[in-house]
């Protein structure tokens, strides 16, 4: 079960296929896009991108936490090391990569 689920419930336009998908670099510093709002929910959080009108379910509280604090760490790896138990990190790395693809998180 993936940690994020993109939803079309917001009737968002289809994802514009980025010509060259921004490759996600876990050693770089990322932050939540300023146009994204997070709303806590029992399963984690809902993330909404006001620009693209896309909605994504962050399906663990810990992931919501990581995303919220991402910009305070000097890299994604550092953020993961600070919050996520080692065995879980690959799944979180994948979740963050998909959030970067859909521009919910952006490199500084």
């Amino acid at each position: 079960m993936p940690l994020t689920t993109a939803s079309r419930a917001a009737d968002a336009p289809p994802a514009p296929t980025p010509p060259a998908p921004a490759s996600f670099d876990a050693s770089a510093r990322y932050r939540l896009d300023p146009q994204v709002a997070l709303r806590p929910e029992p399963f984690g959080a809902l993330a909404y991108h006001y620009g693209s009108r896309r909605l994504t379910f962050l399906r663990s509280e810990l992931l919501a936490e990581v995303v919220r604090q991402l910009g305070e760490h000097e890299s994604v790896e550092v953020a993961l090391a600070a919050t996520v138990p080692e065995p879980d990190r690959p799944a979180y790395r994948r979740a963050l990569a998909s959030l970067a693809d859909s521009r919910f998180i952006v490199a500084f």
Binding site: A9, A10, D11, R53, A91
Partner: protein, 378 residues
């Protein structure tokens, strides 16, 4: 901080959503029952404004509350929402509070000046309704002149540089064959096509029998949608997912779980298609306002309980289709824990045959304008 396993044992999203959210994702707010048209399938039987309509101050208070609940956007409709004199002020205020606006209109009030005003606003999406690719097909449902008015509004938005607005079409027996023409129309404007399902709600209760797509058309529509993941549907055709591969989106009835309606007088219903006392959860005018209704109304708590599959229990497609649309079942007189009247396996049709004439709940007179001489004047 306890760690959550990233895999396994995590219930599916659909299961999680069935338990409800802290605030709705898809909130429709019909801000007036007044409308200059009288579409024969109008889900809210609109026509006359209701004298008890929320005042501007009350509407502002609702927006403040949606802001506090972090409702990201609201779907504004009616009636024809733009006939409220405070319409533009309300949407501007909503956007300024971080509650994005998507509004549905028949287009008749969108002139060049208003199109320019809309083009200058961030976070406002416009949906123009037409129900056919030509005036003949459209006007048979929406009234004489309504196609021309809608096209004129589209022209104004295009000239004003609004960007990709939406063209919203309710699928009927008479327009499924026009899908390629509707797609071409949208493409011509750089607009997005949005298709939604006809339900037997409001005045649609009277006309659904003649208007809803045939089984063959449902299959054709499903195939068309599977090939076009870019066409918006408001996730309204999930009952078609029983035909095979699931359509993209949330495949569940979201009523009271992720969806709800605030009507023009502030009453809160489980979804826009169930304007009936049985699905009225409360009012934004009650103490505690909307949040109280959303979180604690008996009706919504009940809708969030696991539902029995009833006659659908033995169906291999239940995971995909979930028994379909509650509103469609309710207003055709079918049990809520059984197949949708448009069940793609034909089970709904069989059951409909057993519903006695007059047994289906009446949507009531609503706010339809009685057809009298005085109403026709002008």
């Amino acid at each position: 901080m306890p760690s959550e396993p990233a895999t396994a044992t995590r219930p599916g999203l659909t299961e999680q959503l069935k338990g409800g959210l802290d605030a709705p994702i898809c909130l429709t707010w019909e801000i007036t029952y007044g409308c200059n048209l009288a579409c024969i399938h109008c889900l809210s039987s609109s026509g006359r404004r209701d004298p008890r309509e929320l005042s501007t101050d009350e509407a502002i208070a609702v927006i403040d509350e949606l802001h506090d609940l972090q409702v990201f956007y609201v779907n504004i409709g009616g009636g024809e929402p733009t006939i409220r004199p405070d319409f533009y002020d309300l949407i501007q205020y909503s956007v300024s509070r971080g509650v994005g606006v998507k509004f549905s209109t028949n287009g008749s009030t969108i002139n060049a000046e208003r199109a320019a005003r809309l083009a200058g606003m961030d976070y406002v999406d416009v949906q123009i309704s037409i129900d056919g690719a030509d005036a003949e097909t459209n006007d048979a449902v929406r009234g004489t002149g309504s196609y021309a008015a809608a096209r004129q509004a589209m022209d104004h938005l295009a000239h004003a540089g609004f960007g990709p607005f939406k063209i919203s079409v309710v699928m009927t027996r008479h327009n499924v064959e026009q899908l390629p023409a509707l797609e071409a129309l949208a493409d011509g404007y750089g607009a997005q096509l949005r298709l939604t399902r006809l339900r037997p709600s409001g005045r649609g209760a009277e006309t659904w029998g003649q208007l809803h797509p045939t089984q063959d058309q449902q299959v054709a529509l499903y195939r068309w949608l599977i090939d076009r993941p870019g066409v918006l549907t408001g996730d309204s055709f999930f009952h078609l997912s029983a035909l095979g591969e699931a359509l993209p989106g949330l495949n569940l009835c979201g009523a009271g779980r992720v969806v709800c309606l605030i009507d023009p007088v502030g009453d809160v219903y489980a979804c826009p298609f169930v304007l009936h006392p049985e699905f009225r959860a409360g009012s934004v005018r009650d103490p505690g306002g909307f949040a109280q209704v959303w979180r604690h109304s008996e009706l919504f708590i009940e809708l969030r309980q696991p539902a029995a599959a009833g006659a659908c229990a033995s169906c291999g497609s239940y995971d995909a289709c979930q028994g379909g649309c509650m509103a469609a079942k309710f207003f055709t007189g079918l049990p809520l824990d059984g197949p949708d009247p448009e069940c793609v396996l034909g089970h709904g049709e069989q059951m409909l045959a057993g519903v006695a004439a007059g047994a289906a709940p009446s949507p009531g007179p609503g706010h339809s304008v009685p057809v009298t001489l005085s109403a026709r004047r002008r």
